[in-house]
Symmetry: D3
Subunit: 324 residues, 6 copies
């Protein structure tokens, strides 16, 4: 049985809008704090958008998600999972970043996640733009390539930008595959859509073996078949879940840098994530929440709630591994 | 045939954005005005959110719904009902409230609805937070418990808050059942979702006999089956309709205090309400419209349009009773 | 093979947010410029809302759509159409208008489109309120009536307003039919909904032979059947596509003058437009984008993306005619 | 002593945000109501912006000013004037307008004010764009030209627009002078600024005798000298006060169609209006409040408060005339 | 010399937008934490607006001020004071509150401040509505009445509301005087303005000896004379500083419940607070920051910066007392 | 006499909100276009914010300023300067940038301005963050150091960031002095304010000879003395004007990355810029307009109007040099 100190502060004692805002009202712990070894799952912000080629702002995502995540409660009504009963969870603060230096930022972030993994903590992160998943994987997958369930409007497997720039929020998974961090044959991308620059841009990933389920195929298959296909692709190897909020239709997530109409609903997203229960999950993230482009704040609410959905399946997986 | 004076001012003579804003452009009448006895259905605001435990603002709901309700027209295209032909409708203004005194507010509101009922007027209200439904029922159901069709993300049947507070917008229906105002066996709750504080919090209502159709069951059953089940539960006894706008997904109703993603669409809500035609309806309300949290104003438009949908089925019921 | 100069500037060389904003980053050309004769399809703004009876602002639509349309890319992922390969496309700027004179505006706009058609350019326009479609048709259909696929919440076939005003954004298609510009028997209206002023107001159009598919019938038929019915109605004669963004649910397009809840999703809209491929299309428009009522800017993104969808089917049609 | 029924409802009995919103919480009366003869000062909305050449939206001004004016209280702390003790005040609703017909609107508005004046009621209006002051003057000044204290960034004495349009919100006072409604020699314009189209555009008014105090002269003279100069210009003849909110710096009044930076502060505006006490005032207005361009609503608060300031000096003048 | 651990995290190492947001990036400490005895000044939120009679939302003030206060730096450029060198400062979190129970909230807050004072910590708080200053004073002034420098648009010395309610955000200082917490003869109120309900409402406070400097007298005296007068009134006894952001003009602080135009500028406010240097200050607060009414967030920036200004003069005073 | 083609399109022929938006409605010309040699002053956007350490968004400044600058007119009412009569002005589009590569961006921008200067065009730019002024100076001042009138809340003469980053928007003028582009002895900084990280951070610039007039000294001196001091400092050598909008109080320019309360008013800014008439000006810019942080758009209006003010004094200077 988990200890009380790693549970969220309840809203019937301290109102949800009150207090210093941590992710899901969990205790804040630095990597150097006493007791860090008790943490099973670390919730982490990566406040950086230096890989963004169009509209910046995702660096502000962690702050706003912390704020709104104080509305999250404990038990998933659909799956009955209470992640805080299954695992010790804490807010580990933000990974270090450098807003004016891309390469330095990738190194700082990778170093932080390297230490998180060394401590045996499974990371659940909130971005930041999608390039942050690359240094997270550098920390998380340095021993062997991992599989991935990837929700997004874009494949993020482009090669170069502006002539010779290898690192942007459009390239992380090409780099991850090249670096041996990500196994393309155990990777599935769901929700891909939007116009293309040219007919062949999307080929590289599929040629490596990525299973791309674009929005048309998603609707043709139906949600249950998509879940089964995703489970088949990643199998029972270690698997990461990454959720770019632009996978959702912009009405659900206007606060993002590259919105594309015609996307997933939040209800579909919740079902898809719940469908990952029982997989061998090693971490996850929600990225591209960009508060400056969302006057209503709903994107952050969506991001926080999807983090909770991922937390539920991740906690179940972490707990299972611990008691194996 | 109803008199002209109780019909909305038409938009082809006075533009919809012009004039003093009353609910659906109906004439304003005080309870003490001559001719109040001719009114069949009273549209009423309850500008109070003193039961709100998180984000306040629903006290401003009636004002903004009055404004935007001037865009409502006369005939329901789907059902062909023109409520203004069936019943004499008027805006009765706002119920009296006290923003700094919870108990005093409950008493003032109950007194107002007591008088409304004494005058033989069926009330259709706009809140206000959901606690306002309790004093409305104290006025409306003092003779016998009534049934209820309840649209909401939350069951609102919690018991105590902050140690010993019995009255919040999370407790109205527990109190109503305890006070004998609401018959739990003739109550159905639709759209319930969102994480829970603990596994057992939702049990009380179901143990009393409330039929809870949460969002997963809603989608599993399909909308027609849900309508039939709701009709079966409430039967032909006197029935109240309460619509908390957080039953809707937050993209449709961002202006509310406790949004939960993955909710109903407005189209589903319209179909559900239309499905209540023919029941023995005695009143209804739309609550938790909170303008400060909605920069676009769409929540108020949704609230006003759902009021019109409820008005259509309510007017049909009131008319039927009068000519029985 | 089309010339490069008529292609959008690519976002991997100039960031999408940079540069002078033209529609889809196409070259701007005036009707009097050298080389205008090479243009196949002209993208045109009509910044005018003088026919608006309720909330103005659509005059600002073209400016904001130009801004956000710089996020559009080249190839339709679903249909594989690259319109810029099929046709020479250019931004022809805004049609001339007079914000304080309705009749003068109709004349100026009609004159502009008359010249566009004389130059053999197929127009794809962005309004402006829906009355602008009337002068567009005066330029486009003066030789023979055309058919129309019309997406809207409203039929826009009213007769008079405020006693004796014949021209408002609620009357364009009644006038177009009366003027012999529009063939009602080859006209289909999709997405109609919202309450009516009275039971008979909607009759005129249907009596002329318009096929009205309201939102209830739309859902009853299913999207594929609706597409087939629309294709059957317009046949292979010259056909215009007009998309009023209030056909969409207000959550997708809050920035519009007369929102009605319970509307189409953008995904449905995309499928519907793609379903028009192969028809004999002569032009199209997207109207009623009203930026002042949309704090998030999503309406303009939707408008720009739907323009791209129409452009794809229009370009395919124009190309086919040219090579016939 | 005035009757109670014409006093605002107090905020210590009904909260300021509650109830049907009328101007300053005064009773609403139609021109045809019994007892209309008791009204001394009529507060009136003119919801029309058909003369606007750039950004529309002022038609929504009266509705939003009604809403926010419920925050106004009774006694002017600086002057100790309680206008509701001095005069019987009522909200007379909105003047009739036609949003798609400029000339028809001018006629409808003039007819309404003609009747107001015939009833012996002094009008205090809220626009609407500045062209509405012309038909107000047609009702108010048909017997003899009146003087005017005019606060504005622009002189509004242009001649023609778009070739041949005589009526826009840039021309009302040229027309009023030509029609003999306004005495240019008894007219003072304060706050004029902003760049010009050409060097001579501003000459016409001054050639007629208007005293123009532009923003530079305003600051050079100091506020007391400006007040004295304004009083000297209008003398003791019948005088109208018109306040275009763009006289203020846009930070105070962002919700307006033609903002110009470097304007008056609200504090300066309050002092200027208070400086008119004792003049022979016959009416006034606040115009160009355009809610769609003000996300914060402050413009309406400013407009409502300046209406109250004008009401204080107007009431004092009306009372004085009545008891002369 | 103060210890490093009580200094803000520098923005050149961790970007200002990153990390868990505490007030001025100070360490968070609970009252029960080890080392609490080292704290000289405690920054505290009071997230409660249950005394608000009009527009609620100030309960969200502490959260947003925490967020934006991460932009504050260390050294006051004007006074050269570095408060973090002078005193050990920490964020003590939020005082306990109960959003549905006014009396319970007053008791919880008072208890918290009682403990803060018992620990020898000088409190600098952020509200919350102005009623929160009453329980703060119950903790802070239970031994003897204190003096007060009070910036506000309103005197907040009303008596009863809605018949018999003694506690609202309009009554705290009447109650504080009655309870012997506040010495009216050592109280000065600056910035008072706005219309009154009646001529005599403002008398009570002045009759008790409060020195009221309304906005007209403020401008007549000039800022230096006002400072001298304020210093004269409070003398060298223990003094509290309370800053209601509605003392400022609403353009500087739109996010507040009861805005009144014609108020102070932030520059004036900064000078006024700096003018308090050398007084015997025992605590202070900034209240009525209401984020839902401020789409730009400037009110919170103003609130955070004014907290820093008060912190500078408070730290200087606390330090002086410690070394006396 | 200048040619007509370089004048803004007039708003009495094409409404201000219509047409493709170029800076001040001037013709767009690429550096490679025929006729570029006729241009005297080039208006240029630099859409880049890669030097921003806190809140990004200034990359969107040029687009929004283009939009709102269509409201600018021709003749400065105060100085009577019509810049379009004095010089040929054109919109030269945006300088090339790379959003994911800081050094590459500096090189691209410098190359562009090098070419602009080679063509004999005086540049008037709109940023972008303040680091863009460095590469502008690399193009503009490569032959000899220039003087500068610098309006800002910050000195922007810091040294390193995040350990070892030499280029941020806080360092441009330290680098420019080090590179011999900027003569510190002919540099004046006006409006400096806000808290400091430590007491000595501001020393470097003053030690180089920069004349710093902080906000307190600004108010102590008075605006006329500040103008004279600025003129004395820069003398008659070639001088650049740079206006960071955070020099203004945040109420005038909320849309900026690092707002500091207590700043300049726009009126003061206008007077200060007008006071530069007659200097030997070689270029200027307005920077740090960040649209995502300004829901009202006023910052862009302010930015566009101040560009016009700078254009007036720059055009007068350019004309004078040409006719010397």
């Amino acid at each position: 049985m988990k200890e009380n100190k790693f549970a969220p502060v309840t809203g019937t004692m301290m109102p949800r809008y009150a207090g210093v805002a941590t992710l899901m009202r969990l205790p804040y712990m630095a990597l150097t704090d006493n007791g860090i070894g008790d943490v099973d799952i670390g919730l982490i912000g990566v406040p950086w958008d230096g890989g963004t080629t169009n509209r910046p702002g995702a660096r502000h995502g962690p702050r706003q998600v912390r704020d709104i995540s104080t509305m999250v409660r404990n038990v998933n009504r659909s799956s009955n999972i209470n992640p805080f009963e299954l695992c010790n969870c804490a807010d580990l603060g933000d990974a270090p970043v450098n807003p004016v230096d891309l390469i330095d930022s990738l190194n700082r972030i990778a170093g932080f996640y390297d230490e998180v993994c060394r401590l045996g903590i499974a990371p659940l992160s909130v971005g930041g733009d999608h390039l942050v998943t690359l240094p997270i994987m550098r920390g998380l997958a340095k021993d062997r390539p991992i599989g991935m369930v990837h929700f997004d409007a874009h494949t993020d497997t482009w090669n170069r930008y502006f002539g010779d720039n290898a690192y942007t929020h459009g390239t992380p998974f090409r780099r991850a595959i090249e670096e041996g961090l990500l196994d393309p044959k155990r990777t599935v991308q769901i929700g891909i859509r939007g116009a293309l620059y040219n007919d062949s841009e999307n080929d590289w990933g599929e040629r490596q073996g990525i299973r791309v389920i674009d929005i048309d195929e998603f609707h043709a298959m139906g949600i249950e078949a998509v879940i089964q296909e995703a489970r088949r692709v990643v199998g029972d190897g270690p698997t990461y879940v990454t959720f770019d909020v632009d996978a959702l239709d912009p009405v659900f997530a206007p606060g993002t840098g590259t919105p594309e109409i015609g996307g997933l609903t939040t209800l579909e997203a919740q079902h898809l994530i719940r469908g990952l229960q029982g997989l061998n999950l090693v971490g996850g993230d929600v990225v591209e929440v960009s508060p400056p482009f969302d006057p209503s704040g709903n994107t952050a609410l969506v991001g926080a709630t999807l983090m909770f959905e991922i937390l539920c399946v991740l906690a179940e997986s972490v707990r299972r591994r611990k008691h194996r």
